[in-house]
Structures are given as structure tokens and as C-alpha cells.
């Protein structure tokens, strides 16, 4: 999409410490210049996604519903939007540390939604041996097709990113998990497959949630990641196809992560599309570019319909972790009457991590958060499957989300 008149870059777009500001009001920035620097190891810098002038640094609505510090940049309409000439790191001659550093400096994070800094995954602790690299080509949620388009349209870039990762980490094997309903993506990747690397394209069952990290590992390798452990403990590292493509871009053009593919979809939208969107574009501008919303549009969600966040303010910008924007119509967002739990057990069957949502829901209602921890609330990824199948319309996922927030508050208060 074309550059909007203004972009807003929150300093907190990734898991870990927010970036520290490195520009001031009135500064002129070129496309690709950093506006925030990484603060520590689990943090990445933020780069300007368009040339322009910094007009304000202050509170701005963040897609997660809070207000956050953000840099507002008035985009220069007449700028060529060329990036400053930059060194393209020649990856083959680099050591692991230099590759990791280059990826961190480029601000690459997991583009699957959680926005975990990618370079951290590239440098696993020395006492773990990584035997398999898994590339997540399973779309994380219904409606979203951004990973699909990345694979179908940029198979070479994805495979180049895989090559960089495999060689720098010394991983012998790579599996790309793609859901079976994307034959064109599978075909595109197969065709571009290099002969000198052990890369397998593995068609997966189409189900939700398949794109969750631990689900994918189980589907691809058959290994179950123990509760509370990271995938690296079983010798596996998972990367989203979007992140891999972003890594490739770093070593192809030297460009940091300043654009991402966003699925803009839903019945409430006039012209659904997959767009390359500059990070920091306001939802208002994005929806306007898609010819706006229908009169019946009722809800705008960042992410997918299952786990995404409803947005209260269309001034919130697209951030690095924004996989999609879904606009739902009124009849799709109805809220049914909630009936008592009839203990039918459907939520137990639906839960992908084998929890007991019914019991957890009872605990959540009476604020027995400690008991919820004992029932492994931490393993719940808020996929929403339990709430989706519940015949009594109990908003289980929301109860768990609120419980997790309450536990975080207690924890923050205790320390």
C-alpha cells in the first residue's frame, strides 16, 4: 500500500524490553533509520518505515489496548523513500555471533504474532544441540493468509532465509510444515528447493490450532515439548515463514524489518487483501486503502478471530506482530446468552494441550487463581477452542485471559 501521511511507531512492538528512544522531536529520519535502540539481549531496535520528520514523542493507543510511548513521524510526501545506502552483510563469511548481531540490528522479530526477537532463537544456549529447524508455514488462525502468500510468492526468499539459518546455526535438517490446503505454496517451495540442503516440505493436516509452536513440533517430529520448557530443550527451533523471509531480506538488501505482510480480511471489509504494509501505519489508513468497511461492520480485530484483540481505537498502528486485521459484521459478533456448564466435556476434547477448561473456568469465576496454576493454566495458549465449542457459550478463553492478567498483577505486586 502507499505510504500514509503519518506513521506511528510504538517503542514496544516485541516481547522483552521496549526499545530506547534515539531520536528527538524535529529530527529528520530516512526510511530504515533507527528511532529506537535495543535495550538488552531480549530486545530489538525499531526503524522508521518511511522518510519524514518526527513530530511528536508521547502516548499513543497501542494495539494491545493500552497507551504506549510512540514516535510519530510525518511522512514526507516528496521523499523518494530510498533507504540510505547500507552495507549488505555477506553472510557466508560471517561468524554465528555476527549473523545474530545483524539480525538483531535489523529488528527482526517473530512475525507469527508473538513478536519474540528472532536473534534470540538463532543463538540457543550452548548446552542444547539443535537437530531440526522447523519453519512454520501453518497459518496461525482462520482468515489469515499472510504466511500462505509469503510462501507462494517469495519461495526463494524463504529458502534463502532457511539457508542462512541452517548454515549459521549448523543445523543439519530443516522441515517446512505447510497445511495441506495450500497446494500452490507447497508446489512453489518444492520447485525452488535447493539440492545441497536437507529441507523437507511436509504437508500437514488442516486444523486449528496448527500454527502454535508446540502443536507444530508435535505434528512434524512427534516430540511433545514438556510443559514449561522451550522447544530448544528437545532440540528444535521453530521460525515463522515471515520471519525467515525477513532474515533473508536482511542479507539480501540490508533492509531492517520495516514492512510486513498483513492480511486485511473479513466480511465487514469492502476489498480484502494481503498487503505489504509499512510498520506504523494506522488502522484507519489501512482500512481506508481497502475501500473502507461496510455499513454493518461492527468489530475490528488485530490478529485472527480466535485469539486476536478487538480494537477500540482505529488510530492504533500496525506493529511488527500484526499478522492480520479482520473486520467482522454485526451478525458475526453477537454475544449469546451464557448458560451454566453442563459438564458435557466438549472443551476437554477440544483443548489442544489437554487441559480441563471446564474446571479452570469454575476456578476463574471464583478467583481461585492459585488452583488454576496447579491445573496448568500456564500451558493454556488462549487459542479459544474451548470457548468455540462450548454449547453453553461460556467465554472460557476470556476468563483465562483475565485470570492470567490477574496472576501477573499478583506476581508484579509480590516482587
Amino acid at each position: 500500500m502507499p505510504y500514509p501521511d503519518e506513521i506511528v511507531l510504538p517503542l514496544r512492538q516485541h516481547a522483552g524490553n521496549p526499545a530506547t528512544l534515539c531520536v528527538k522531536v524535529g529530527d529528520h529520519v530516512e526510511r530504515g533509520d533507527p528511532v529506537g535502540l535495543a535495550d538488552g539481549w531480549i530486545s530489538v531496535p525499531i526503524h522508521a518505515s518511511a522518510s519524514g520528520t518526527v513530530t511528536d514523542i508521547g502516548w499513543w493507543p497501542h494495539p494491545d489496548g493500552t497507551m504506549a510511548m510512540a514516535v510519530r513521524i510525518k511522512v514526507d510526501r516528496y521523499a523518494p523513500q530510498m533507504t540510505r545506502p547500507r552495507m549488505v552483510p555477506h553472510w557466508e563469511g560471517l561468524t554465528v555471533d555476527q549473523v545474530v548481531q545483524a539480525v538483531q540490528d535489523a529488528g527482526v522479530v517473530g512475525l507469527g504474532g508473538a513478536a519474540f526477537p528472532t536473534h534470540v532463537k538463532l543463538a540457543p544456549p550452548a548446552d542444547f544441540v539443535v537437530h531440526t529447524l522447523i519453519i512454520n508455514g501453518a497459518e496461525c488462525e482462520p482468515y489469515l493468509t499472510s504466511d500462505h502468500r509469503t510462501m507462494a510468492e517469495y519461495p526463494d526468499r524463504v529458502l534463502f532465509g532457511i539457508r542462512v539459518m541452517m548454515q549459521s546455526m549448523g543445523v543439519p535438517k530443516c522441515v517446512v510444515g505447510v497445511e495441506r490446503n495450500k497446494p500452490d505454496a507447497i508446489a512453489a517451495l518444492q520447485q525452488a528447493l535447493p539440492t545441497d540442503l536437507d529441507i523437507t516440505i511436509l504437508p500437514l493436516t488442516v486444523k486449528y490450532p496448527q500454527g502454535a509452536e508446540k502443536m507444530l513440533i508435535q505434528a512434524v517430529t512427534g516430540i511433545e515439548v514438556p510443559s514449561g520448557k522451550l522447544p530448544v530443550s528437545v532440540g528444535v527451533v521453530v521460525q515463522n515463514v515471515g520471519s525467515v523471509a525477513a532474515i533473508a531480506e536482511v542479507f539480501e538488501t540490508g533492509l531492517p524489518l520495516i514492512e510486513r505482510i498483513v492480511t486485511v480480511s473479513g466480511h465487514g471489509l469492502r476489498r480484502p487483501a494481503n498487503l505489504i504494509v509499512p510498520v506504523g501505519t494506522k488502522l484507519r489508513d489501512l482500512l481506508a486503502f481497502c475501500d473502507g468497511v461496510t455499513p454493518d461492520a461492527a468489530e475490528v480485530i488485530i490478529g485472527g478471530p480466535m485469539m486476536g484483540q478487538a480494537q477500540a481505537n482505529l488510530d492504533a498502528p500496525v506493529v511488527k506482530g500484526t499478522t492480520g486485521v479482520v473486520v467482522l459484521e454485526k451478525h458475526e459478533t453477537r454475544l449469546d446468552k451464557v448458560y451454566p456448564c453442563i459438564h458435557c466435556g466438549r472443551c476437554l476434547e477440544a483443548c489442544p494441550v489437554f487441559l480441563n477448561p471446564s474446571l479452570l473456568g469454575d476456578f476463574a469465576r471464583v478467583h481461585r487463581f492459585k488452583d488454576m496454576v496447579d491445573e496448568h493454566l500456564a500451558d493454556c495458549m488462549l487459542c479459544g477452542s474451548c470457548a468455540y465449542v462450548c454449547p453453553s457459550n461460556i467465554p472460557l478463553a476470556q476468563l483465562f485471559q483475565a485470570s492470567k492478567a490477574a496472576l501477573r498483577r499478583v506476581k508484579a505486586g509480590a516482587t
Binding site: 497507551m67 481505537n313 476470556q398 476468563l399 483475565a402 490477574a406 498483577r409
Partner: protein
């Protein structure tokens, strides 16, 4: 037959009764009888406002002289005096505190930017897009505080703000914990000036979100005693230690009405909240 049954069951019961009686004598632990006496004088609300797990624990510590009777914020002066007199200790200095809400943005003055239709609790709304209110710091009006209040001191006004009754409020702190926006503070009841706003935006853009927000204009600071009111990071704050020098001047100077003079319950001067609890 019936007689036999009665005898057998009765006999078994008698044997166990004797056993229990002996065990009771053998395992008996001496406990200060004053603990029971003090515990019976306490309100027995088990609210935890004193910081102890319950009234019994408070009684134990009071008898040992670890905690002053007045630390029971639920008990009235009479309770404190009775316990102090019974134990022969000083009652301690009582400073009555109440919960105050740091938000005055009811539905009549605060802008609502979206409709929230999820689980009707503040905690859930705060987790989803921060609720529908324009102000990201303001009260969500879904009454989590009123539900947790064991003393029924909080009622929701017509404009969706919780109104604390300073007479029944015991400063137990449950509402402070319940509010996901952290809008409640426990303050000495005689603190006069209060800035009822937590919005950190500075300048007039705050007024797009709420008519009674603190714009950090600093007018209240100018007339006040030095150090009484300070403006920093988006809101004005009042220093309680200089409460004696507090002056109504600050209230009249405030262009938005964010700062108020408290004399009893909050919000009594706001016509829109008339009809809600007034002390």
C-alpha cells in the same frame, strides 16, 4: 433386638467418648485466654486490612503486644478502646483511612470510543483492548470493586463510577487489589485535596477524552503552599504531609475540576452524580 442395637451403638459411643476425653486431657495445650477474649471483641470480618490472615491472628499478635489495637481499621474507636483497656496497652494512634477513586470520568464527561461486549468484569475488559473508554487510564465501570467490597461500601452511580461511602469503608484494600486500572488509593479520611485523575497525557488533548481530566496546567501549584502539590509525568499529585496547609484555592483555580476538596464522600459536588451515595 432394638435394645441390643442401642446398647451396642451407645457402648461404642461411650468408649470413644472416654478415649476422646482422655486424649483431650493428654494433648491439651495452654493458650492465653485473652486471645479468645480479644478475638470476640474484634469485628471478625476477616478482611485482612491489618495485613494478617484473619481476626484470630490479629488477636494473637495484639495480646503479644506486636500490633496496636488501632491497626484494626474495621473496628470503631470503641472497639480499639475496649481492647486497649482489656490488655492494658496504649491504643495507638488511629488514623482513619478510606478508599478514594482516582477517576471522575463518568459516562457524562468521559468519551467512550468503542462498545465493549465481552465478559462483564473490569478484569476481563482490561485484558481486551483496555475496554471501550477513550481514556486508557480511566474507570471501566464494570464494578469489580463493588463486588469484592465485603462491607458494601461501594455503590455504582448512574454514570458508572463507584462511589465509596467513607463511613462504611474500612480501608481493607480489597478494591485496591481488584481494580485492574489501579484507580483506588487508601488515604487518610482528613486529606482534603485530591486529584481525581490518572490520565498521563499532558495538555489539552486530554480533554478530547474526558472533560474532568488533569491537563497538568499547573495552576493549582501556583497558589498552593510550596511542596503541597506537584505536577509530574502527566498528573498533579498532592502531598498529604502538608495537608494542614491545603487550601480551597487550588480547587477554584482548576480549569477542569480534576482536583477536588474532600469533605466526606467523593463526587458529592457533581450534579450528575446526585442520587448516588452521599455520606
Amino acid at each position: 433386638m432394638t435394645l441390643l442395637a442401642i446398647l451396642i451403638v451407645g457402648g461404642v459411643g461411650l468408649v470413644f467418648a472416654v478415649f476422646i476425653a482422655l486424649a483431650n486431657r493428654k494433648l491439651w495445650v495452654w493458650e492465653d485466654p485473652r486471645i479468645d477474649a480479644v478475638a470476640s471483641m474484634l469485628p471478625n470480618a476477616n478482611c485482612g486490612a491489618c495485613g494478617l490472615p484473619g481476626c484470630r491472628a490479629f488477636a494473637e499478635q495484639a495480646v503479644e503486644g506486636i500490633i496496636a489495637p488501632t491497626k484494626c481499621s474495621v473496628g470503631s474507636d470503641d472497639v480499639h478502646k475496649a481492647i486497649a483497656g482489656f490488655l492494658g496497652v496504649a491504643a495507638g494512634t488511629a488514623q482513619r483511612r478510606v478508599a478514594r477513586l482516582l477517576c471522575a470520568g463518568g459516562t457524562d464527561v468521559a468519551v467512550s470510543q468503542a462498545e465493549y461486549r465481552g465478559l462483564p468484569t473490569c478484569a476481563a475488559a482490561a485484558a481486551v483492548a483496555g475496554g471501550g473508554k477513550g481514556c486508557a487510564w480511566g474507570c471501566l465501570s464494570l464494578a469489580d470493586c463493588a463486588r469484592v467490597c465485603a462491607f458494601k461500601a461501594i455503590t455504582m452511580s448512574d454514570t458508572g463510577l463507584p462511589v465509596v461511602d467513607p463511613v462504611t469503608c474500612t480501608a481493607c484494600g480489597d478494591c485496591v487489589e481488584a481494580c485492574p486500572k489501579g484507580l483506588f488509593v487508601l488515604q487518610p479520611v482528613e486529606q482534603r485535596l485530591l486529584v481525581q485523575c490518572k490520565n498521563l497525557l499532558a495538555g489539552d488533548e486530554v480533554l478530547d477524552q474526558c472533560q474532568v481530566a488533569c491537563t497538568t496546567c499547573g495552576k493549582c501549584v501556583q497558589d498552593a503552599a510550596p511542596g503541597l502539590i506537584s505536577v509530574s509525568s502527566g498528573v498533579a499529585t498532592v502531598n498529604y504531609e502538608l495537608n494542614a496547609q491545603a487550601d480551597r484555592q487550588a480547587v477554584t483555580r482548576c480549569p477542569t475540576g480534576a482536583i477536588v476538596w474532600l469533605d466526606g464522600a467523593q463526587f458529592v459536588r457533581m450534579p450528575s452524580l446526585a442520587g448516588s451515595t452521599e455520606a
